[in-house]
Symmetry: D2
Subunit: 420 residues, 4 copies
């Protein structure tokens, strides 16, 4: 909602300082900097008092807040250790690593929100595993499906997004390259230092990536996919809860002008947040490419685009979860919507073809349809009358049920321990 | 920059309350509500004390903050006048009108920022009206152009964006339609009430537009165009200020790792903000369409998308203005880049064709090129040597200058009075 | 549909040659080239036999087909006139102007398709001007609206798109600037030559615009808006024709697997084409900006993006027209959907507030709702029982009707003479 | 280029018929249909003569060509076997599977094109592994890097795209679900039949996915990533080949107006194709979600969007390969651009800090800079003069080289056998 934009987070100082501390500790570990220097810098970082305006000024004058941050740290460090602050690193190393730590957290929150929604999908898929409903293709009534299968398909989508999310998290690496991104200043100790830093920060070292933003496209992809998932489930819940269909209901929300109208607030909030997530995430795909060793503008937009995309994706998934938790299925409406037996058509067609052969079956089917319309009879009764014998009208959901079960088994692997 | 996202604005309470006051005043003017009711409601709005959490709750439960806002107003109004609060209106009327008032202000700020940048472009176009520079096509040196013409082209683009902006502002109308957007509840007094409200709020009444979001696409278009303008000028300033070209310089910014490096901070900030503006603005174009009388999700995302797009567009234009205000042109570099006379080639070609005819001119040109390369001579000298006579080498910029003048004259019409 | 992509059009040779002929004629008119030269070149263009592979080769080796085209023209021209072929122009002049002529034609076709659809919307709006239907907000049943009003709103949207289209057509100008886009080679005769050419080609001369692609963004905007319009109307037709709502029907299409199912083929085709139009059109907004005097890549993509966007927009509008032409309204379903009188709620609320005051009215309304639910009575009957007197239940559509009439009057101004 | 759009492919009849043959063979294998029926249908498919207009008609009337295709097949099959044509399947099963076979082929072609480009990147990275060049950050000269490292970074990006491509290929599964996508009509034999079909067609069976389009988003992601890769390398080649930098050259292309100008045609074509690929691929991410059991419009747009995205991505990668194959590095220009020793600054800073401590080093650095400017001396010489002793000026590229080697080793795993 307005005022809650995920991009208002400011700079993630904790993670930016964490980078600088991890750097100097690694330098000390590998004998480059003295341990006393590392200790002094770690202390300065933990005690840092910072005028936020200095960061804003630095952003305006340097297109990055890092110079001001480093100056502030240095002021807290004895002169003899100052040179070890930010030693061998460049602003982009700090920003890239710091935001990867932010994205790791955001993705973890998104994972929780998605799996919470998945849990509710799984419950509905289980509870209504064999509830036959009218299938709807091209927004028209088609042959039967089950409510369980519908939710199982969405659950599958949801788990596909979680899979992508897990890959994205694993690809979020430490950035360390120095000003041209080639580890040149650190020389032979570059890789050992990076390896130690990565271990300290709990993220992998996959080499420098100032030029290769692949891991960021992955994060954007997850944001886009999560938004699309939410939007798909949400619009479908809305469709099924139209009053004339009435198969699902939500009880939330009042209208400001109509006392007896209830608004599907969570679903609407979910779609709205998804829309913003998608716009910001997709913005990563159309941004200008990196110009040589560091991009002049599109790199700097990445944090806002991606924290915005993930923040809104989380809000969207949470809102979807709210909707799903209040879901009620009207078996009466489901049955009523089935009653004109349109759902029989495919089963009936197969049965008629089996009895009469393909060409004659078409003619018989036409007779049945005409009879059904002229007598205003359900298709099953019309068929019975025309063919003058019993035709199979039972729906066999076992096979569809086994597809559901596979998805539920898949979901077991994702369930968080807390859901034991 | 992070923390400065335009979407953190929260709801524009002043404008939302302004709607409610204008509504009841118009109802009183047209004899529907008593004047005392209008006065009571206006007073309640001006004295309103509101728990912000109630709006957030309302957003969560109703997908809009308006029910909570109306309840709060009603609590401040004597019982006998309560029914006139929000009479005949729906939440969307308030939100749509309120944000149009926000966009009107934002667009005005963007207009100022664009015209400030335009002023600087005009000055450069004037100062360097006839400074011949190497033209660059496909990022290759081509025939000559003038620095003035380059800036005049960008100035023209800028004024085209301002034209679109002015159209967009004029199309921002009052929303009033009631819950199905057809003015049905207000009946015959609907249009008179709307006309009075629009006059009070200083925006036009163009009929209800709950379903037709055209005016919002216009706002998005302006955001996108402004972002594209800024990005185009910014990348071109960067290209011309590459050290090897050296035709322009900026003095801003230090590198965190390299003491003698200066960063083009404003240009980079401009491009970064433009990127976000563009992503959010373009999000309006790919959003799902309005479903029947009110969209369920994409409408609700409009305020964040558009305040975000405009806010970042303003930031981008401001940053571009900063860059332009610090612009310095190196006549020495410009001259040096011209010195190998590649720029003459088109003039030379025309002169040779004029003297030798098309086919022979080609052969002569080939000789000149070979001679120029083998002797490492400038093209003009080589031509002189090969053709053994004077060839025209003067560049006539008058015609190009007159194109610049036309743009400068155009700009006179946009200049704000304060620049008079 | 596959195989019908609008981007397979190849180069518009007629328009490219038209540029070259217009150029040399203008040169002759202004005394630069001899009239015999102009005649010879015009003849060569009209008799040109061209190996298409030469254009493809030129595209591969020059990133433009124009050099091969010019060589081919020159071969058909006597040696003494060859230098006047393409004199003073650059490839981009030919391509930009040639495609503007293409876009002018495409936009005209789109205009016809949109106005054909508009005609059908206007007819429905007229026929069903006062047919009360359930309004639907957030995909929920709301207060009443009229079917006429719904179509009038879409008609208004359609006319807004046509307005933008007309502006876009008027802004499609001649390109003439020479290799750096500044008319420098032609010098003082540049503007007179351009003015004559523009008159000959029937498009305006608005100055060179190699750097300022504003007119192309306008074309893209029209493509996007047309796609959005089609998509909005199409999805709404689909929603209203869901069997349970049944307010509208289409008779097109059979299912390959279900004999009694009819597919809404035109609406689906419309949405599919709109999707492609939108993707290609929006691609113009995210393309990289022009680099200095000529962009290296994104300019070259403009013809495919925009002919694709417009071609699919035309296909979408045509398909929408097909759907609208087969539209049937079920007054029975409309009435049945109204029968539980939810639509009365807003009218009722106003009536109750008017009689009881705001606070008591809320209590009465709650009683009516409870009574309605417990007795399973329509809202109107429950109200009657609770309040024990007549309440206004008539819907006054006059005011809404007058809004429709305004749109219909607006439409009169767009109707093509052929519809007289 | 115009006329070469990848979307003009028409329907992939071979793959669509392949689906029908595989279906009936699997039905026969599992004892549902008679083997004679399978043989008859296979024969009919192989001998099928089809009026293309019937498919177009079917698309218009059914929003899919499949009904016409099935009718045509049935006409070639004896009456007693007709019912086994398309038995249990729906149009979407055929279209989804058929286009997955298309995408598999397209992705394979894209893989070849990417690895061809990668091969050239690897060669350049190997040849110029230790060639020190000026690093360029924010389009400004920065500290040193090596040309080898630059190409190794792009090679890494390229391999990341290939990794995504391989995942996308593996996720392209058979579609089989029947009209509601739940395998309901085929019942218990559904999964065995699907498994056999998938084996016959050489793609996996991963369950029905009519509702879950994840695999299609993956294809789109690959198209987008490939386009971004090409665009990034291409613009950077352009930047480095600007005449004033002159570090790289291409020899392709002539200008139509300037005889001595060569155009970077392949790079420009690459960027243009990438732009279209990106627009179409990104269109998949903003398309409306699937409505219930089958989407009404956005599904139908998938084939055009994705064949267009992949086709243009292939063209883009091929064009990039052309550029890379003609690449020449000017060691003289590289050295000249290094000569003012700006590249030393970071090395120098570290050396000075090491000798003087952080605070004093800053002061010394300022003296060196002033001296360098006032005497117009290179930084290294100025440093030598100021500090009056030797300072390290050698660049140690070993560490950067080892990063390159890692990428080259990675690439070994992707090299096609033919390059062995």
């Amino acid at each position: 909602m307005p005022g809650e934009s995920a991009s208002k987070v400011g700079w993630p100082l904790r993670h930016l300082l964490g980078f600088e501390v991890a750097l100097v500790r690694a330098l000390a570990e590998h004998g480059v900097a003295p341990q006393a220097g590392a200790d002094a810098i770690a202390r300065a970082c933990s005690e840092l008092e910072l005028d936020p305006r200095s960061l804003v000024d630095s952003q305006l004058h340097n297109a990055t807040p890092i110079p001001a941050l480093i100056d502030a740290i240095r002021q807290g460090v004895p002169a003899e250790h100052r040179r070890w602050v930010h030693y061998g690193a460049t602003s982009q190393d700090v920003i890239d690593t710091g935001y990867n730590l932010v994205f790791r957290d955001d993705l973890q929150r998104l994972r929780v929100a998605l799996l919470d929604a998945a849990e509710l999908m799984a419950r509905t898929a289980t509870t209504y595993r064999d509830l036959v409903v009218v299938g709807r293709t091209l927004l028209r009534r088609g042959s039967w499906t089950t409510l369980g299968f519908r939710f199982a398909c969405w659950l599958d989508m949801c788990l596909d997004v979680v899979d992508e999310l897990d890959i994205a998290v694993q690809s979020l690496g430490l950035q360390l390259g120095g000003s041209s991104g080639n580890l040149g200043v650190l020389g032979a100790i570059g890789v050992p230092v990076a390896t130690s830093m990565a271990a300290e920060l709990g993220i992998p070292w996959l080499g420098p990536w100032q030029v290769n933003r692949h891991q960021r496209y992955r994060v954007a992809f997850v944001g886009v996919l999560a938004a699309r998932l939410v939007d798909q489930v949400a619009i479908n819940l809305l469709l099924l809860s139209q009053e004339e269909l009435g198969e699902l209901t939500f009880g939330e929300g009042d209208s400001s002008s109509m006392p007896n109208k209830h608004n599907p607030a969570s679903v609407v909030n979910a779609r709205s947040a998804a829309r913003i997530a998608l716009s910001l995430g997709a913005g990563m795909f159309t941004a200008p490419p990196v110009e040589l060793e560091r991009s002049a503008g599109s790199w700097q937009a990445e944090p806002d685009l991606l924290t915005g995309a993930l923040g809104h994706a989380i809000a969207a998934a949470d809102a979807l979860g709210n909707s799903l938790s209040g879901l009620e299925v009207s078996r009466a409406s489901v049955a009523a919507n089935l009653s004109d037996e349109l759902y029989l058509s495919e089963t009936l067609k197969v049965a008629l073809e089996s009895r009469f052969g393909y060409d004659e079956a078409r003619a018989v089917m036409r007779q049945i349809l005409d009879y059904s319309r002229s007598k205003n009879l359900p298709l099953g009764s019309a068929a019975h009358a025309v063919v003058n014998s019993d035709l199979p009208t039972e729906i066999a959901t076992q096979s569809t049920g086994s597809l559901i079960d596979q998805t539920l088994v898949r979901f077991q692997r994702y369930r968080r321990i807390s859901n034991g």
